[in-house]
Amino acid sequence: MTPIERRLFSMSVAARITLTAIMLVLFWSSVTIAHPLGNFTLNHFSRIEVGSDQIRLRYVIDMAEIPTFQELQTLTTYDNDAPPSKAKLDAFAARAAAEYASGMSLSVDGVRIPIQVLTANASLLAGAGGLQTMRIQCDLVSAIPAGNVAAVHRLLFADNNYGDRIGWRELVVSPLPGLSVFDSSAFGSSITDELKTYPGDMLQAPLDERRAELSFTKGAIPSGANALLTRDGHAVSVRSRDRLAELIAVPDLTAGVALLGLLMAVLLGALHALSPGHGKTVVGAYLVGSRGTARHAAFLGLTVTLTHTAGVFALGVATLLASQYVVPERLFPVLSLLSGAIVVVIGVSLLIRRMRAPVGWHKRRVHLHDEHLHHDHSHTQDHDPTKMHSHGGRKHSHLPPGADGSPVTWRSLLALGISGGILPCPSALVVLLAAISLHRVGYGLLLVVAFSAGLAAVLTAVGLAFVCARRLLKSTGRFGRVATVLPVFSALMITCAGAAICYQALEQTGTGLFTAGAAIAARVISASAAPQFASIGGLGLLGLGLVFGLKHATEVDHIVAVSAIVSEHRRLARAAIVGALWGAGHTASLVVVGTIVLALKIAIPERLASWLEFIVALMIISLGVMAFKRALSRRSDFHIHRHGHDYFSHSHLHFHEAEARQSAAIEGHSHEIVGIGIKPTIVGAVHGLAGSAALTLLVLTQISSPILGLLYLAVFGAGSILGMLLMSSLVGLPFVLGARKLSGVHYRLQMLAGLLSAAFGVWYAYETGITGSLIRTIAAL
């Protein structure tokens, strides 16, 4: 063994010993935990399950050590410490259940209805001090009088058992599928999960719920009524009937019944597919964006069927084998998330690919308009850019790859199919598990396959519909412009659908993204509002500076200024560069001012700072106005581009960048952008001057060494560059997209951006000028 291996092995031995010791301690301590609610308590739990023609009651009594001992003494002789036999316990449970039933009162619409015991079960569990605790669980049922045809019923329940004993008393109402409960004095959820776990760490006096009053009706709750609430305050929604699960539980299984059942399953699967979910949007968007054929649609359908069936089987087996660890309800959100993630990945990759090769955007492709190359075809008719052509080089079409006749990649189809089928329907899972418990495994499997087939059939139909629609559109000829937009749009739709699936999945797991994000943001804001530099070390300080710089980029006036500039650019990379240049200018001025301040140990006077802010406001106004004017003048810039020679016309759908230089030279021209200019840098520099006052003052007072302070400013600047880069990319995205495809939208966006910037600038000027003391200063002069 090498020395390293030896060390690892010996470490693992020590770790193993520690682990064993810990486990022993835990095991030992777990044995001696007393009944959590005190040894004298007798705790009640009632669940009222409201059905359409009967009320079912689940009643649990959990006795702590002493009451258990008292009860057991009636079963066995006191000095016979042997536990009572199963028969005795069962008999005791039956007696107890009968007593409990007579100690409860249930009335519907004022008429008291009798309660019958269905099952009763008593079990003994280990408690403290070598004593035992007892759990008596019974199911009771009570029929609603048949003659009662009122739409809305009022139910009263009271539990009078052991009225004078101390203990926890919990009451829960749960409506059966198809019914809704409202105006209820009881809650719809349990804290203790049927008295299996009691709240330990929080302050919660034992519940004392002995009575419940509620109204129930079939269907939805009437308007104006208060819905049944869970203890967290969420409303309990009406559960719909699970018809698929009802199929498996038919009393006799004859051939005819089985066949009918399979048919029903197919129909149910088809119906289920029509409900939201299972990626119809995704499939449709994909097939319409790429050149899908009927074959692709069919393949997609098949994949979904197989994946769905396989998913149900896998989950069913897992649930059976590892029912302690695998709780299907917990897995569903995870699977949802996975499916959503796959969809998002597909969507983003498609988006990137399709955006990289937009119409008319040839990267560094100088094309020559030699005469001889263009003699090959006639140019009098309208030139369809979607068809294959060449400008003298390679044959190409101005459509994104994958849409020019090459087959849709089977890999992405497969991925889409998997993502659609990966989330097994809960009803299908229930069917499988019920089939296994009813010993009708074969029938259950067939039902699941039939269900998945129905699901897939509808999905295929949806895909085919989209494919046909696309063909129809194309044949009418108006497809030209739409064809170029559609792929990108569809990729965007796919991404959004995937993101929505992910968000829903996260919500199901209980992590509300907004609340979590808000919590984190609140923490960051509070931390940054009151920074305590003195307490953190140098490295922490620099890290903090990076974070602050990132956050600094998100300030409104910065974004507004940058967006006014970004609105002119059509490329994402350009927008990002604008942001980066802004950040560079900002950092430069910050560092310069900071050096001066730290070296000379002076602070920028507040008056000067307000003036600088005012200048920033004016700058924003001017930027906004300039952007607006430019947008106004360039509205008609979508043109058929003449390449400087008159004997042929050659149309490209494209625009000119603001500072593009076009050479009319014969030898060639390029549609490439030359430069962005130093406008963003200057804007950033002015911003830096304005903001530097507060920041440098802060640094001056809190950081002792000037070198560290300067370093902090530099790191802050780097953070702000990065932040602004990201922000400007984000801000520029709509402009970039709008610019590419739809001519008018881009200019309208730009005008809007210009207007907004100007308006913001005016308000900002007002804030700093009027409400600050500038006007007074001017007046005083």
Partner: protein, 446 residues
């Protein structure tokens, strides 16, 4: 000067009342003249619903804002009230959690409410040393308030430091004798001190005062009124006045139906009057509500006397089970269990060990008594003798103390002293305990 004159006046009043009592009591034991009869009992509205809502409201508050120490303090107070009403130890744990949470948010120097809650929780959990220390700290933090001295006095009383306890109660009187609730509390404390000092009539007067003041409040607190009535019953029982005791216990139950203390008291009185069946019924009801070991033990004794040996054995075994849980549940029932073991000659060594452990910390007269009794049963006569002398140092009129003293003297060979003590025990309260009283009688006949 003003304060001194008030105290003097009070003393004079008490003295005159005492004289009156003595004069009237020269008649038959069953006559019960009082300077002012306690007000007639009627059932008081239960504040249970309001209390429940208050507790839920406060719990919601602390769930939303775990640093709301004021809500925690109030919550601790509400839980302690629940403990007094139901005897449920769950609420004691909750009160402790609330008090600790409050002090975790803000330290005692700025959070006297939290410190008060903690001291009260410790007192209720029988951690008297901690309660005393925290109460002392509280008196320094709030030198002008009376309630720190109340808690301090209570803790010192339970620890057996009677002089300091009385001084604390005087301090309490001096500082806060104006508010109604404080006056009620003062009266209750003075009554307890009087009972300890062989002044059962004085105790009765104070309890009656407290009761009257409580009933006269705009909304009389149900548990306080019931407790005062119960205490009046206990005082009457201690001097053998069973009819009066029964009346007071019934009044307590009228005020607060199923008040578990009154139920047990009624059972005891029934047994003393010879109505075994009635006594068993009462005790069964009490045990049904809360299986306090002293109730269970008494029920067992009654079963034994009725000849139901199997049921008796079941109850005794239950008491032992509670004893086994005792190590987990803390020291709440320590003394009762030790006395139970000693009374029934079960596990004498364990009982002695328990009693001596407790007596090391808590040196009040009843601790000394328990120590002495268990020492006797464990065969340690000399220790028993020393301890019982300590137990009798205040001349308290308690039949059980005299009975224990008599039995110890008997075991030490002092026949005359033994006879003297046993006679006193039986003349004061002939049926002080169903089983033990007959043992005392048998010993006297020897």
């Amino acid at each position: 000067m003003k304060i001194k004159s008030i105290r003097l006046a009070e003393f004079a009043l008490l003295f005159m009342l005492a004289l009156t009592f003595l004069g009237c009591r020269s008649g038959s034991a069953s006559s019960t003249p009082e300077s002012a009869p306690p007000p007639a009992a009627h059932s008081l509205p239960s504040d249970a619903e309001v209390e429940e809502q208050t507790i839920r409201f406060l719990e919601e508050r602390v769930k939303r804002d775990p640093e709301d120490f004021i809500a925690h303090n109030k919550l601790a107070g509400q839980y302690l009230q629940r403990v007094r009403e139901t005897g449920d130890v769950t609420y004691l744990n909750l009160a402790a959690k609330a008090a600790h949470a409050s002090l975790a948010t803000l330290p005692p120097e700025q959070n006297t409410g939290g410190l008060t809650a903690l001291a009260q929780v410790e007192y209720a959990s029988h951690e008297f040393v901690a309660a005393r220390d925290h109460a002392l700290q509280l008196t320094k933090l709030e030198p002008n308030k009376s309630y720190p001295y109340q808690i301090l006095g209570d803790a010192l009383l339970e620890l057996g430091d009677y002089q300091k306890a009385e001084a604390a109660y005087h301090g309490m009187e001096d500082l806060g004798g104006v508010q109604e609730l404080t006056r009620i509390a003062i009266e209750q404390r003075l009554a307890r001190v009087a009972a300890l000092h062989d002044n059962s009539s004085g105790a009765r007067v104070h309890f009656a005062n407290a009761l009257r003041m409580a009933v006269a409040l705009p909304s009389p607190p149900r548990e306080t009124v019931a407790w005062c009535r119960w205490q009046l019953g206990e005082t009457a029982f201690a001097v053998g006045d069973y009819a009066e005791a029964e009346r007071n216990y019934r009044d307590a139950m009228t005020t607060f139906p199923d008040y578990f203390r009154a139920l047990a008291g009624l059972g005891r009185v029934r047994a003393a009057q010879g109505d075994l069946a009635g006594a068993i019924k009462q005790y069964e009801h009490a045990v049904h509500i809360i299986p306090d070991p002293s109730f269970v033990a008494a029920l067992g004794d009654l079963y034994k006397l009725s000849g139901r040996d199997k049921d008796a054995a079941a109850q005794y075994s239950l008491v032992e089970k509670i004893g086994r849980l005792n190590e987990f549940n803390g020291a709440l029932y320590n003394r009762q269990l030790a006395l139970f073991y000693a009374d029934h000659d079960i596990k004498p060594e364990d009982a002695y060990a328990n009693a001596s452990k407790e007596y090391a910390v808590r040196r009040d007269i009843y601790g000394a008594d328990a120590f002495a009794w268990t020492a006797l049963k464990a065969g340690k006569i000399s220790e028993a003798r020393a301890a019982i002398k300590e137990a009798l140092r205040l001349d308290t009129k308690d039949s059980r103390l005299f009975y224990h003293a008599g039995m110890i003297a008997h075991a030490s060979g002092e026949g005359n002293d033994a006879r003297e003590y046993l006679k006193r025990a039986l003349s004061l309260n002939p049926q002080f305990d169903p089983l033990q009283a007959s043992i005392a009688r048998k010993a006297l006949e020897q």
